[in-house]
């Protein structure tokens, strides 16, 4: 929280996508009804996931494409590498893909002599900065224009760009110009997929920049990396989900580009890839079925839960420590990287319920976080001092008089320790929390005390 740039970026989030989303939702009276339909569609798919995936595979093959099934992140990385090698690729352009981040594809390709080139502007910026994304939709939202200007000045000199640009328009234009040749030079284009259509073997990307399209249409091989829960029965089902996606993500009525790709280039086509491969990743998703986590598989990665989350807006995406930040990250990261690694994510929730209220797929995010908290306690994953603390708290909390006195003393002490700033940049027993964020100190009075004063004031 010492980081002024991050604070500026998070401040922008407050007036950014969340407000646009609300405006877009208000313009579409059927929005909530569409959410209900979308929930039905996704639940139906999850209950019949084996059928829809098999049908999808059959259609991709019928259109001349190939499907590669990968149970783990490692299998997916190796599959993509061998496809790149088969194409004789030196470079691979990439559209934005959270699943590619999930399997840590870039470092793996680099280590094996293939240069991955992020083409989405935000992804390109964080690739230059050698940082992970901090947001699902706007991965470089934590960086300021000045930082991006510095990165471009440093990395674009090799292309003869010696002037340090400062206007967003000029920065975008320079990235566009540099990227053009890279699209043309790449042998492989890798994109993600927002949805897969079982009926037709189609993959769908929803984007604004047009980079995903240039990535997939110019190289001779198009590789789609997608997770298994992205499949939908029909194009009509996709229409329902697409009406929710952009509105929830950025508050747009629709993304600039929604692209439906079916198989490789046809015999008389003048452009398009010669080969079309879909890499389907499980990576533990099937193990979420039939558990408290199944509802999280409805997620369409719109980022609405991040934009409206008071915790995300206070600490930013990197504080979550893994690919998926915000409430959805707190709900699924413990499953993917282990509760031992991620137990503090579901713990760091105010349970305000805002995430669930904006989630277009009505995922019970606070409920899932509560489940993880219980798991962490039961499986004794939280550190011993914390578990002892909770047990002590439970013992005291059952004795109201003692609780009042104890909490008054604790609150007053913490407030005094924090001094005028009112925040702890470091606190004993809380190092894991304070490494990438501050801990605000209590303001000197307990909730119970304030509640009493407040109810008395209102009664009088």
């Amino acid at each position: 929280m010492q980081d002024a740039t991050l604070r500026g970026a998070l401040k922008r989030m407050e007036t950014g996508f969340g407000a646009s989303r609300a405006a877009a939702v208000a313009r579409l009276p059927e929005f909530d009804e569409l959410r209900d339909r979308a929930v039905e569609i996704r639940n139906h798919v999850l209950a019949n996931l084996d059928f829809y995936l098999e049908r999808f595979e059959r259609e991709v093959i019928a259109q001349g494409g190939q499907v590669h099934w990968c149970a783990t992140a490692r299998e997916a990385r190796e599959t993509i590498l061998s496809l790149c090698r088969k194409a004789g690729a030196k470079t691979a352009t990439k559209g934005k893909s959270m699943v590619a981040e999930e399997i840590a594809l870039n470092p793996f390709l680099e280590a094996n002599g293939i240069q991955p080139i992020e083409t989405d502007l935000g992804e390109y910026v964080i690739q230059l900065a050698e940082q992970p994304p901090s947001h699902i939709i706007v991965p470089a939202v934590h960086l300021s224009k000045e930082q991006i200007a510095d990165l471009f000045a440093e990395h674009h000199a090799q292309y003869g760009k010696t002037e340090r640009l400062t206007e967003a328009q000029a920065l975008v234009a320079e990235a566009r110009e540099i990227m053009r040749q890279k699209y043309l030079d790449a042998d492989v284009g890798i994109t993600g997929a927002n949805f897969l259509i079982a009926e037709t073997g189609t993959t769908i990307i929803a984007t604004n920049e047009g980079n995903g399209d240039l990535t997939q249409m110019l190289p001779k091989m198009h590789i789609v990396i997608a997770s298994i829960e992205k499949v939908l029965p029909t194009l009509e089902d996709a229409c329902t989900l697409l009406r929710l996606l952009a509105r929830s993500a950025t508050g747009q009525e629709f993304t600039c580009y929604t692209t439906f790709s079916t198989g490789p280039k046809r015999p008389d086509d003048l452009d398009g890839p010669d080969e079309f491969h879909v890499v389907l990743l499980d990576n533990g998703r099937s193990a979420m079925l039939g558990t408290e986590l199944q509802d999280a598989l409805r997620c369409i990665r719109c980022g609405a839960c991040l934009n409206d989350c008071p915790v995300y807006r206070s600490v930013g995406g990197h504080a979550y420590g893994w690919v998926y930040p915000g409430p959805i990250g707190a709900a699924i990261d413990p499953h993917f990287i282990g509760l031992e690694e991620a137990y503090d994510l579901p713990a760091a929730s105010s349970f305000c319920g805002k995430c669930e209220s904006v989630c277009p797929l009505r995922i019970p995010l606070p409920g899932i976080m509560r489940y993880w908290r219980e798991q962490a306690f039961e499986r004794k994953i939280a550190p011993a001092p914390q578990r002892a603390g909770i047990r002590l708290w439970a013992w005291v909390a059952r004795r109201p008089a003692l609780y009042r006195i104890g909490s008054r003393i604790a609150v007053a002490m913490l407030a005094k320790l924090a001094g005028r700033k009112g925040r702890f940049a470091r606190l004993p027993l809380a190092g894991g929390w304070t490494a990438a964020r501050d801990l605000p100190a209590p303001e000197g009075r307990t909730f119970a005390d304030r509640w009493r004063t407040e109810t008395r004031r209102r009664a009088s």
Partner: protein, 241 residues
Amino acid sequence: MSGGEHVFARIRAGLGRGPLEPEAVAKLEARIAAHAPNLIPARARVPEDERLALFQRMAEEVGTTFAHVPSFDDVPAALLAYLTARGLPARLRMSPDPWLDRIPWSSQPALAIARGRAGPGDLVSLTPCFAAVAETGTLVLVSNGARPATLNFMPDNHVVVLEACDVLGAYEDAFAKLRALHPDVPFMPRTVNFVTGPSRTADIELTIVRGAHGPRRLHVIVRQARARSESAEYRLDRVQA
């Protein structure tokens, strides 16, 4: 046998069931075969005579520009006027589509027209379009041997010739039109592009900048409705409705 059996086994274990019974499979196949639309918002069910106006209003919101012409004969002059007004060269790359032959391009000798897929040097492209969707001001472009998709993305300026009668209400209507035109399988072209305004990004400080990697400008020349009986697409649309 699918290469996904090991994944299906995990899925079934999670769901606590074995492979689906034939009756269950038949029901799912029937759901796909019906491909029934779900809820279509009232906005998309706009009466036919208001569709073009809604399409234009929504498209203009996101930066698409428009010109209207009474007949195909007027398209070349409208195109030249557009290029001149923006200081663009009168040189363009056009879809090699016989549909565009109905436009008398030679009436404007100043226009230098090449046909084919887009290359890096092309500043302006011109394409027909399959349909337009009023609900969000969205153009629907399909790829085939006469319609290379690179024309929709590589040049800085993308000009689209649209017939007013091809403006539909909802996304689903565009897919219904595709299904009707290609009753045989596959009905999906390699690429279907839904295009809603020129390319943009908000990746630098959430400031919207137009002209990211795709076209910086998107211009639609609308050929106004002619007598309805003339339009094959219109009749098709009727059949669907």
